[in-house]
């Protein structure tokens, strides 16, 4: 079972199992017919992908969010109007749209930067609502790892050390560091899936009990 669709489905109070993703052709066709579910599926599939690209290029979360939203809307409008000639190349089309809009943003960023120098930055707000539970979920999964494995993940992902450097620090062989890192990430995914499954079962029971 894919991890992220499960989590996203859970937090959105979605179905017990994530719906199977539609084939690109079917998805494009459904959007052209104006099916709201298809548009939601499209947005869910590409939103965070575009955010990744935008954030890497722009280094500014607020701008990245704006550009991502703009990209999804622009792509959806094109799809509604049937302007995608090769629906099988949907991913490449969205990626290209994102790249163009990011480039536009970068080109016009001089004025923005000038303004930013003279204005206080607005307070950041979480556009997604609270993420406390998401954090708790991850922390609980991380807490189940052996301390050494947590340490390897920290040294890799926070301190950005390579396996050889970590091996020297922790008294392990580099191949052991690599193996433990891979194993740790797999364990986290499994743990999250397990927690999510338990949550879902518990919620289902509560709903049945209350009915």
């Amino acid at each position: 079972m894919e991890l992220l669709p499960v989590i996203i489905g859970l937090f959105r109070g979605g179905p017990a199992q994530p719906p199977a993703a539609r084939d690109d052709l079917l998805l494009v066709e459904a959007i052209r017919r104006g099916e709201p579910d298809a548009e939601a599926e499209f947005a869910e599939r590409f939103r965070d992908r575009v955010l990744n690209v935008a954030l890497r290029r722009l280094k500014d979360p607020e701008a990245a969010r704006d550009v991502a939203q703009e990209t999804i809307l622009a792509a959806l409008l094109s799809l509604r109007d049937g302007r995608l000639n090769h629906p099988e190349r949907l991913s490449a089309f969205v990626f290209g749209t994102a790249r163009n809009l990011i480039n536009n943003y970068v080109r016009s960023s001089v004025r923005r930067n000038e303004r930013a120098l003279t204005e206080d930055m607005p307070a950041q707000t979480d556009p997604f609502g609270t993420d406390f539970e998401n954090r708790t979920l991850l922390r609980s999964a991380l807490a189940t790892l052996p301390p050494h494995d947590q340490q390897i993940l920290r040294l890799t992902l926070v301190d950005q050390l390579n396996p050889g450097e970590i091996a020297r620090l922790l008294g392990l062989r580099p191949d052991v560091v690599r193996a433990r890192k891979t194993r740790a990430l797999k364990r986290i995914k499994r743990k999250i899936t397990s927690i999510v499954t338990k949550r879902r079962a518990s919620a289902t029971q509560d709903i049945r009990g209350g009915a």
Partner: protein, 258 residues
């Protein structure tokens, strides 16, 4: 680009850490636009990274029931209906953190590893005592290797010497040091514990001190703190360094904190 290639080259991790060049990053982005598996890997690594940045250093051997997850009401969580998932966590975290420290801040784990670094203590032959002739010979041979910096090569001789005379603290102590020097912290802590267990010896203070170091390497912080306190309590040459280590340790992983 294939998934196998992406996995083999750890592209998801390198992408999140900003270690791909522009062309590599763009190729990988094109790939994860189509590939759910690789995109999931990117999001998982991002989320784990942000969670680790927020979490205090792990102190081992805490019972599972101590974690707050046990106190949550899952049904209530579900009914909140909050949007997004782990995949969006990183973004809000990125936005609330000053750009200056992104990726550059040394974690507590790295500072801890620094504290655990050691220089091998010098060996003074006059300290040799108590071993039988055979054990003494093996010990001398091993310590000649030790003096030359050949710690791995010294280990078999030190094991033989400590087997020949189980009451000899010197061979066990330097065995522990050799294990530390070749990054076998588990075995180092075992040998140093045995040295401590032998009781009063010329190596007792050092054994506590270096056992503390070995436990730091093993991320056994409470145990390390205890051994360093014992080294301080002996008021010998290592009192000041042990105190300094305890002070640094307190900054990284405060006693009594999580």
């Amino acid at each position: 680009m294939s998934c196998d290639f992406a996995v083999r080259e750890a592209l998801a991790e390198r992408y999140v850490l900003g270690k791909l060049n522009e062309a590599e990053a763009e190729r990988f982005e094109e790939h994860f636009f189509e590939c759910d598996r690789c995109f999931e890997e990117v999001q998982t690594i991002r989320a784990v990274r942000e969670a680790l940045r927020e979490m205090p250093l792990a102190v081992p051997a805490r019972p599972a029931s101590r974690w707050p997850i046990r106190t949550l009401s899952w049904a209530a969580v579900l009914l909140l209906g909050i949007g997004g998932g782990v995949s969006i966590l990183w973004l809000s975290q990125e936005s609330s953190r000053p750009a200056a420290d992104a990726g550059a801040q040394r974690s507590a784990a790295l500072r801890l590893a620094d504290l655990a670094a050691i220089q091998p203590p010098p060996f003074t032959p006059a300290r040799l005592r108590g071993a039988g002739q055979r054990g003494r010979d093996r010990f001398r041979e091993a310590m000649a290797l030790y003096g030359g910096g050949h710690f791995q090569a010294a280990i078999p001789g030190l094991i033989a010497a400590s087997d020949a005379d189980p009451a000899d603290a010197g061979s066990r102590f330097f065995l522990g040091i050799c294990f530390l020097m070749v990054n076998q912290s588990d075995r180092a802590s075992e040998a140093l514990r045995q040295t401590v267990a032998l009781g009063d010896s010329p190596y007792l203070e050092e054994a506590h001190f270096y056992l503390g170091k070995a436990l730091l390497r093993l991320n056994q912080i409470d145990g390390a703190r205890e051994e360093l306190r014992r080294a301080v309590g002996m008021h010998g040459d290592l009192e000041a360094p042990a105190r300094a280590l305890l002070g640094e340790l307190q900054k990284i992983a405060p006693a009594g904190g999580r």
